[in-house]
């Protein structure tokens, strides 16, 4: 059987409602479980910890007292940046062009991949990433005892000295596609999926879907007034100014949209001085 229209139409994106997020950490646990995160001898050494999803606690002012203190939780994973090539076939995230060994690439579904067995561990991509989304295996990943039995067979276990990163759980999509193929559905665009963090969220704060589909919930949320992209300062400018700035310099232009009505949080996500 030949599929006539097999071109990729999907562009995966995410919307995270920070006003709904309770900071329970279920997304982080689900991510660790799904992607075979190792447990190191000293996991209290946070800057060296390997985790794709970091649940960040954001406070307006560390020294503020009640009722002036405001807090929010912000789940942060790879933002799957597009660079200035927004909507183009080949996106240009900050981390991909820098890799000296082509260990990382952007798929036509817009997901930034990482081939752990190709990575030489130079950490240049980590340096280039403004979201601290890429993590390095400083120690040998070990899975002790019965922990080994719970490993996911869809995600390869990385070796020491390589970079690993969130891929929007792309392997789940592949698993779903394989299922569909077994049922005779060969169209690559026929299948949707949900990453581990989105399906684990108890309040439904994480919405995942296709940004190219104008009817999808995620693309509606991305266009809402509450949407704000992390540190992507060019979003605040007028369309003319945006065009002018983007002709001079690339911007990250991530595909993860955060939703919040809290002004202080929106300002902080833009490096603006606190109001």
């Amino acid at each position: 059987m030949i599929v006539k229209d097999s071109a990729m139409k999907r562009k995966w994106g995410m919307a995270i409602d920070l006003d709904k997020c309770t900071g329970c950490g279920a997304c982080s646990i689900a991510c660790n479980q799904e992607n075979n995160m190792p447990i190191f001898e000293d996991d209290s050494d946070v800057p060296k910890r390997v985790a794709f999803l970091e649940l960040m606690k954001v406070t307006n002012d560390r020294d503020a007292k009640f009722p002036d203190v405001k807090t929010a939780f912000l789940p942060k994973m790879c933002q799957q940046c597009e660079g200035n090539a927004v909507g183009k076939h080949k996106a240009d995230p900050p981390c991909v062009s820098v890799c000296p060994a082509v260990a990382t690439d952007v798929g036509d579904d817009g997901v930034v991949s990482q081939i752990w067995s190709r990575c030489i561990g130079c950490r240049y991509c980590q340096t280039a990433c403004p979201y601290e989304a890429r993590v390095f295996n400083w120690w040998k990943p070990e899975y002790e005892g019965s922990f080994k039995n719970s490993l996911s067979t869809d995600v390869s276990v990385a070796s020491r000295g390589t970079i690993v990163k969130c891929t929007f759980c792309s392997h789940i999509w592949k698993r779903e596609r394989d299922k569909a193929t077994a049922n005779g559905i060969l169209d690559i665009n026929a299948v949707l999926y949900t990453p581990a963090c989105a399906s684990a969220c108890p309040t439904g704060a994480i919405i995942f879907g296709d940004l190219n589909d104008p009817e999808s919930e995620v693309s509606k949320l991305a266009k809402s007034d509450r949407a704000v992209r992390l540190v992507n300062t060019v979003d605040d400018e007028t369309p003319e100014k945006q065009k002018a700035l983007m002709s001079k310099k690339q911007y990250a232009n991530p595909k993860v949209y955060y939703l919040t009505s809290q002004k202080w949080l929106r300002d902080m996500m833009r490096f603006k001085k606190n109001s």
Binding site: M56, Q126, T127
Partner: protein
């Protein structure tokens, strides 16, 4: 052999013996910790997911920039035929060779998977055009080719050893290699422009999402920095060697000519650096809605910028005025200021660059190298000094000195 080594120690003065013990001790410790890092990984360093690079990349940046004096000096000697620089060239080529050799060593330690280092050549990220997509791909290729050129440039120094040169074939090879050396100097200069730019600056300047580094002109500024600081470095090393050996290894006028060249290039570097800071304040930081001086904080604050400019101005002041440059004391102060200005700029690129928080709710970070990082870095430097000492003792590193000694002997 043991007797030979014993003799070396017995012949040396007390201070020299202590120095040798310290240097050899550092090299031994280097070996021990190298095994630890290569077999058990980078967990033993103070680098982390936020501070991704550390002491060894500072070492790389510093060594390559200061080793850049080799191509500048070679270019002036072989292409512009400034013959007064000839007494310096062998020492310069040797220092360049070692700087690049240990750049490779540092880079290898910095890789999480050192056994995969050849992937950089086997799977280069070249993109579609002539120019590679990744700055590190360019570093891989350019650095390797230029290292080969430095090896070729170093061969005559080895061949001219007083035992080897007696062989007629060796003498002929050494002679013709000298005659053809300008091709190597030209090729080396061409290549140096690329990797000096990419490793020193372009590598950081292209990181468009990191406002602390992003600057399209960074590539070109690093080339000027390497030419300015490198020439000062190439003056100071034989000068220090001469002071220790208590001999005039290089005539004073050669030193003064090279420091004059260095001073002139420092004018260009100063202008470029002022432009760099200005565009940082007025253009690139606002483009990312950041305040330039807000990014200078924490331990690696604005004092680094002030120190760097003070050192550049000191180098400018002492190296560009004839009355100061011709006094040995001021020439040394000027050249040292120049070297430290470049070292400070590399330190601030890395330490300040990584310490800046990516999110406003995070604070400035700091980096304190572990014992492994210190000893691998210092061990490499000790190794370089030992190699230089070996060459100074047994090889014709300073033709001026040999010439004078032969002259003296014929007089007696």
């Amino acid at each position: 052999m043991i007797q030979f080594i014993k003799n070396i120690f017995q012949e040396s003065s007390k201070n020299m013996r202590i120095t040798l013990y310290v240097l050899i001790g550092l090299v031994v410790l280097f070996g021990i910790f190298a095994i630890q890092i290569l077999f058990w990984g980078l967990g033993y360093t103070d680098m982390n997911n936020n501070f991704t690079w550390g002491a060894w990349i500072i070492g790389d940046l510093g060594l390559v920039a200061l080793g850049g004096g080799a191509f500048t000096t070679g270019y002036f000697l072989y292409i512009f035929r400034v013959d007064k620089l000839r007494p310096l060239i062998s020492s310069t080529v040797l220092i360049g060779f070692m700087c690049y050799l240990f750049t490779f060593v540092f880079l290898l330690f910095d890789l999480g998977q050192p056994l995969r280092c050849w992937f950089g050549f086997a799977y280069p990220n070249w993109g579609k055009g002539v120019y590679p997509a990744s700055m590190l791909t360019e570093v891989f290729f350019c650095l390797s080719i230029y290292f080969c050129i430095l090896v070729v440039e170093l061969i005559p120094v080895v061949l001219e050893h007083k035992v080897l040169i007696k062989n007629k074939v060796v003498a002929a090879i050494a002679h013709y290699m000298h005659l053809l050396m300008w091709t190597m100097a030209a090729g080396g200069t061409f290549l140096s422009f690329f990797h000096q730019g990419s490793l020193g600056g372009g590598m950081w300047g292209v990181l468009y999402a990191r406002p602390v580094w992003f600057a399209p002109h960074f590539f070109f500024m690093a080339i000027v920095a390497a030419m300015a600081g490198g020439t000062s470095f190439m003056t100071m090393m034989p000068y220090i060697a001469g002071k220790i050996m208590k001999k005039e290894v290089v005539p004073m006028e050669s030193y003064q000519l090279l420091t004059k060249i260095s001073g002139m290039i420092f004018i260009g570097y100063f202008v470029f650096r002022v432009y760099d800071v200005y565009t940082g304040i007025a253009k690139f930081a606002p483009m990312a809605q950041r305040n330039y001086f807000d990014m200078w904080g924490g331990y690696y604050g604005v004092w680094m910028l002030v120190l760097e400019f003070a050192l550049i101005i000191s180098a400018l002041f002492f190296l560009n005025q004839k009355k100061y440059r011709e006094q040995e004391k001021f020439m040394v102060i000027g050249a040292c200021s120049g070297i430290f200005a470049i070292v400070t700029s590399k330190l601030s690129v890395l330490l300040h660059g990584f310490s800046v928080p990516n999110f406003p709710w995070k604070s400035f970070t700091a980096y304190m190298p572990t014992i492994q990082e210190w000893l691998i870095t210092l061990g490499c430097f000790a190794c370089m000094i030992l190699i230089y000492m070996v060459f100074a003792k047994w090889f014709p590193l300073f033709p001026h000195l040999e010439h004078h000694e032969a002259h003296d002997e014929s007089h007696h």
